[in-house]
Symmetry: C2
Subunit: 138 residues, 2 copies
């Protein structure tokens, strides 16, 4: 956990504050993202930064509160991995919790100098085989 | 790639031959799977073995031909990771290709003795935000 603790903290704070620069600071310039929504892959930091800008803009006056659960971290040398459940709760500007959804998260990170950078992120929910629709809650 | 090459080969052959024992041999006894279908997690080899039995039985006289693309491997010490695209093609007993779907795959593996074992697998497809349905092809 210690190795990647700062990534979880930065992710949480950056998303809540809709801070694109802080958010993208935890990702490697060659990051490969398998995101839950729409695109098969995001390749490289510019593509991922564009996603973050769109995401934060789409929230309007709301924001997304992030909560991580079930965190498991593995590390060897300059390579580390994490798995977790992430809960995103949409919160209005008056602090009202509007709705939430959950993702399964996998991170692969590499130590570059003193900082861990995410080189791969995979988020998803399972698919219901009858409806082919996403199951949004654990 | 070299570190995990045998995992890709065994996965492919075991699925095509519907060989539960060979299939499960590449997974750690405490494997955590975030699978594309139905369940939020599979925890431990017995749960994952039961999934494999159901999967292979559901194929009837067909079988699933597996093809990996876009493989990227990272390794440090006894930890290794892989990302890839997996294509599953349903093939009839007369060799006819019936249909296919694609997954995004992430593996985390640990070296135990001489063998790499998958301690985490994450497969998914992205979700279309309008329909909330799975996008099954790259």
């Amino acid at each position: 956990m210690t190795e990647l603790a700062s990534l979880f903290e930065t992710y949480k704070t950056a998303v809540f504050q809709k801070d694109v620069e802080a958010f993208t600071s935890i990702y490697d310039e060659n990051v490969l993202v398998f995101d839950m929504w729409m695109q098969w892959t995001y390749e490289g930091l510019p593509a991922w930064t564009a996603m973050a800008k769109e995401w934060f803009a789409s929230l309007g006056t709301n924001c997304d509160a992030v909560h991580f659960d079930d965190i498991h971290v593995q590390a060897a040398g300059d390579l580390a991995t994490a798995t977790a459940t992430v809960k995103f709760t949409a919160v209005s500007d008056t602090g009202k919790e509007l709705r939430f959804l959950q993702n399964r998260l996998t991170w692969i990170a590499q130590k570059k100098g003193n900082a861990w950078k995410i080189i791969h992120q995979h988020t998803s929910t399972p698919i219901d085989v009858e409806t082919m629709k996403a199951v949004l809650h654990k």
